[in-house]
Symmetry: C2
């Protein structure tokens, strides 16, 4: 059986989604260890993509193949019972044999939460970034418009050794103010994102909002195809993968 799952996690204490040789502390690693133990043989969990160390997910999609007598609900309950309290499977369904969470994904949406109040974000301190200076959101919106569409995002790629194509398409960037939470939420939807790309975009947009850069510079940054042309990498803790779309 090929199972499709939607997974939510608080990335604070993890080394990102992807399994690593040197550490147990990844979401994929936790899931694979648990499922392999349940199945009595090795189970591989395929995610829609990696998330960086410290990045959260409200809804990461993944799939894995496993034989079991359990119903979907029983399997999901069993997995949730074994998972630590900062990882949860929100849904579990059998999928077609061909379903592949990475290859079949057509769009992803990330949210970046900025705390822009005058105090301290006590309850949400692990999920928001508080820039030292409050950015102007209208300037951020103007800057964001320059990177919409298909571009080579090499300047916004955190992997310096990247050898694969760095062209991606961003369909939408929303900059929404949420006054009751004293927050601004940046929502990025696109067909795929490079390593650190949302965080570097966020850092650069915040610098535009703070007046450290002009919004029009976004075009030059894209053209430079050089990481050093862009702004800072915003901290991981403000970022969450919130949605993965399939056909």
């Amino acid at each position: 059986m090929n199972y499709r799952i939607v997974v939510s996690y608080d990335g604070t204490r993890y080394n990102g989604w992807q399994k690593q040789k040197t550490t147990e502390d990844t979401i994929q690693g936790k899931l694979e260890t648990l499922l392999s133990r349940m199945a009595g043989k090795e189970v591989t969990v395929q995610g829609s993509g990696r998330t960086d160390a410290g990045v959260h997910a409200l809804a990461q999609t993944a799939n894995f193949r496993m034989e079991t007598e359990l119903s979907e609900q029983e399997l999901m309950d069993a997995i949730n019972g074994y998972l630590p309290e900062d990882i949860a499977v929100l849904s579990l369904k059998t999928a077609s044999e061909r379903f592949h969470s990475r290859y079949n994904a057509i769009a992803k949406t990330y949210e970046y939460r900025l705390y822009i109040g005058n105090a301290k974000p006590v309850m949400d301190r692990k999920y928001v970034w508080q820039p030292e200076e409050k950015p102007d959101l209208e300037r951020m919106r103007t800057a964001a418009a320059y990177v919409l569409g298909e571009h080579d995002f090499k300047s916004f790629c955190g992997n310096k050794k990247m050898k694969k194509p760095t062209v991606r398409r961003i369909d939408r960037i929303e900059v929404e103010e949420i006054p009751e939470r004293q927050e601004a939420v940046l929502r990025f939807t696109g067909n795929g994102f490079l390593q650190n790309m949302v965080r570097i975009l966020t850092g650069t947009l915040v610098e535009c909002g703070q007046g450290k850069r002009e919004p029009e510079q976004m075009r030059e940054i894209l053209e430079a195809k050089d990481r050093s042309a862009a702004g800072m990498t915003a901290p991981a803790k403000g970022l969450s993968l919130v949605r993965v779309d399939y056909q």
Copy 2:
């Protein structure tokens, strides 16, 4: 100067609001240590009331007397700079000499968050309680209506040695479903609450919602004036003091 402050805290790692001889880990203790150091002499911080160990506050009100050259904004920024990241002063204003955060409070509002989804509340796990069985909210509303108004709440008091009057007035109990968070929020407003009172009310209402008790029993529980007549004490982590009203 008599300063009035609004304080927010994540109570997870604290022994409640009130200073204790045996531990440093209280909110009042943290504030007093810090302010006394700033003032060069002992400063007492008076809260609107205690909160139990593990209970949070979105807006606790307190006041303290201190002489300083700093403006209100500077004083607030200095305090926030020294406080740990799970405590914040949201506002600070000079108050009349007579202002007393406990004696002058006329109403308090507490919120209790229940997670009622089918998965696990990953991001909010430290701020919600997930009862084993999902309660029926309409039954909870019916039960809640019985305790509105002025009553002797001795059955809902966690302090067995309580010698002071246990009559309180509850003006409002809302049971609101928040589908997008898969939560039910219980909102209690009254002129004052006994130790553990909101948590015992919540535990008892949830038992009514689960069918373990009949809503009409609430009347008998009040009449019993005996803690053992009421239900369980809901866990501290779901509770937050959200508002203190003054004339």
